[in-house]
């Protein structure tokens, strides 16, 4: 039935529903609009007396890439990139191996390993992080280049426990494929590399992308590990520091600019990969 032909009462109801949705969407999008507006704001300072800026400029973006007096934003980007690339390769390798083994191989300690992973997940992840920090500090690795190794170790080292999404994917590949390959005389290694892996490209890409985005999104761990070593800041720590009372007046609009810069690629990555995320959480009984 066309909207025009609806009875009056229903017309009002449907219109009201749309207005309501628009209000909700507005509430959800306000912070995003606001940060984009602020990143182009002409007046300095953390607070503005008007919600919508009075003048617009590109200086906040320029400042990020030219003013290195306090924060070296390009350096932070490079740091984050380095750490993200190495840790995403390692953790993808770990996650895919564990997920494959737990999903498609049957062995005695399988259930035990899954239970252990679940128990480890119940500890605040943060607790082992603090301990790692103090261990590295004891060896004198918290200032100097070893800091990068420390960050990679913490991001990727324990990645094996986060196998659930990939396992869910492997679970959906029919077991008959393995059986056919085994009948044809392939061993399990060949079955894995020649049959299952080519079918699993989406989940490998998903794992790579999500673990690549990790260091861009994480702020806690990098903050604790990097401490006062500015040259090893990742983007997240740097942006957080810009809101420090000391710097906020000078750097607030640049913070907004930096937030926009890193949010765009992360948002694109997420929108591209959300399908797998949705499948993994909604088909949760697996």
């Amino acid at each position: 039935m066309k909207f025009r032909k609806y009875p009056f009462k229903k017309k009002v109801l449907v219109t009201l529903a749309h207005v309501f949705l628009a209000v909700l969407a507005f509430i959800w999008l306000v912070p995003i609009f606001w940060v984009i507006l602020t990143s182009f704001r002409g007046t300095k300072g953390s607070y503005s007396s008007t919600f919508i800026p009075t003048s617009f400029t590109l200086d906040n973006y320029k400042k990020l890439f030219t003013d290195f007096s306090v924060f070296n934003f390009p350096q932070m980007l490079v740091n984050t990139f380095l750490i993200a690339i190495i840790s995403c390769l390692i953790s993808t390798f770990f996650v895919i191996s564990v997920a494959f083994a737990l999903s498609r191989l049957r062995f005695r300690s399988r259930k035990t390993i899954m239970d252990a992973a679940m128990i480890i997940k119940l500890f605040p992840g943060f607790m082992s992080m603090i301990a790692v920090y103090y261990i590295f500090k004891m060896f004198g690795w918290t200032n100097g280049p070893m800091l990068r190794v420390a960050m990679i170790a913490v991001y990727a080292g324990g990645a094996g426990t986060g196998y659930h999404i990939a396992k869910g994917f492997f679970d959906t590949i029919p077991y008959a494929l393995d059986e056919a390959a085994l009948l044809d005389g392939a061993n399990k290694w060949l079955t894995m590399t020649k049959i299952i892996m080519p079918l699993s490209k989406p989940i490998i890409v998903y794992t790579l992308l999500t673990s690549f985005a990790g260091p861009f999104k994480d702020f806690m761990l990098a903050k604790v590990l990097a401490g006062p070593n500015k040259e090893y800041y990742t983007v997240a720590v740097g942006l957080y520091q810009m809101l420090d009372i000391e710097y906020i007046d000078q750097w607030f609009c640049s913070f907004a600019a930096g937030a926009v810069i890193i949010s765009i690629p992360i948002a694109i990555l997420f929108l591209k990969t959300q399908k797998y995320y949705v499948e993994s959480v909604s088909g949760a009984i697996k």
Binding site: A17, P31, F51, L105, I113, G157, M220, S282
Partner: protein, 456 residues
Amino acid sequence: MKARKEAFQTEYSFSRAIKEGSAVVKLSAVILGLGCLVRKQLVKGFMLLFTEILIIAFMLREGIFNLKKLITLGEVEQQKVWNEAKSIYEYVEGDRSLIILLYGIITLAIVLCTLILVRISVMNAFRAEKCVKNGKKPPSFYEEVRELFDKNLHKTLLFLPIAGVLIFTVLPLIFMMSMAFTNYSVENSKLVLFDWVGLRNFKNMISFGGSLGKTFWSVLGWTLVWAVAATFSNYILGILLAMFINWKEIRWQKFWRFCFVLTVAIPHFVSLLIIRQMLQPEGAVNILLRNIGFLGAKESLPFFTDVTWARVSVILINIWVGVPYTLLQVTGILQNIPGELYDAAKVDGAGPFMTFRKITLPYMLFVTMPSLITTFTGNVNNFNVIFLTSRGFPRAVESTAGKTDLLITWLYKLTIENQYFDIGAVIGIMTFVTLSIASLISFRLSGSYKNEEGFR
């Protein structure tokens, strides 16, 4: 459980190996790799033997010393010694308990590895012996490596990831947890040299009398209230929103969904910091309210300064953060609910509220229970939403924890900011206990965990 054990039952078990094996098998427990060497599995035999020599050398040079010190955690204090020649005071390094603790734990881990190696050695010796008895040749090194890519592929695949988890997650966890039984804290300046104190910290923590106990129970209470409120508000509101957008009268459904999903795509710490900034006394929200005349020129709403306001604020912020996730997750499931159920309910005269309570919610709960539990766990440990917005404030002067602090942010403040490591470790353990109890109960209730293998 039993069926699984039987399915993987082999004729080689450690107890049988010790009972039925020959003297060589038994000796393999002492001289690692002996059994392999006797059966001409040279590579493996020498590898085991070499490892054993390394371990023994380590234990003699450092290990035993480390373990001995672990008992007392060091006793020598740093001393000032008068140096006549230079006529200055010189500091003589004392024991450092933290290093002793770490090395002690690493040594214990090595001892544990040795026990595993002993088991491997004995089992291998027994297996080789069985092969010879049955008139077969024991597998060569080459054959065993090939097995690692076939029958034992799981060992190859899991070795590195598990080693990673053990070294970078489990070992640090044990290290941190052991601090709960010491007095490693800035209190009484026990930062260099500290002692084991048994369960004293736990007693202080759970006693209602002391100031620490009072803080603990109030923080635990708020953590649980927060976790329940945050989880269920997101869940219910997310489902309602998803149903609303799914309503057949709504145009541009994809566009509306996109609006909400966009907020998920932005890194959390960015959006949370932005919201924090917007809710400051001079922040954008107050400015906006002043501009439209809702507030006077100097007035502002106490988003993070009043206890009730702060608590409600963080829950609302969490709704802002979390509802789009639920929306993403449930949209597909909602469309899968069989339509006949709703038709039947309509015929029986059920109203919309009744259908939601009796059909939609139970169905959703059934399907999403496991992820709901994960969300609950995530909320108990939700560091970001609290730390990046209210920072745990407002805080009473005499307390170390603020009114919106969760156990996890309190843990952060105690350890990183104030160096009460012993109490921090106790809080970590308590968080674990809370979470275990909560998830155990919900797993029992849901039962979907048991059906993991059901579809195969």
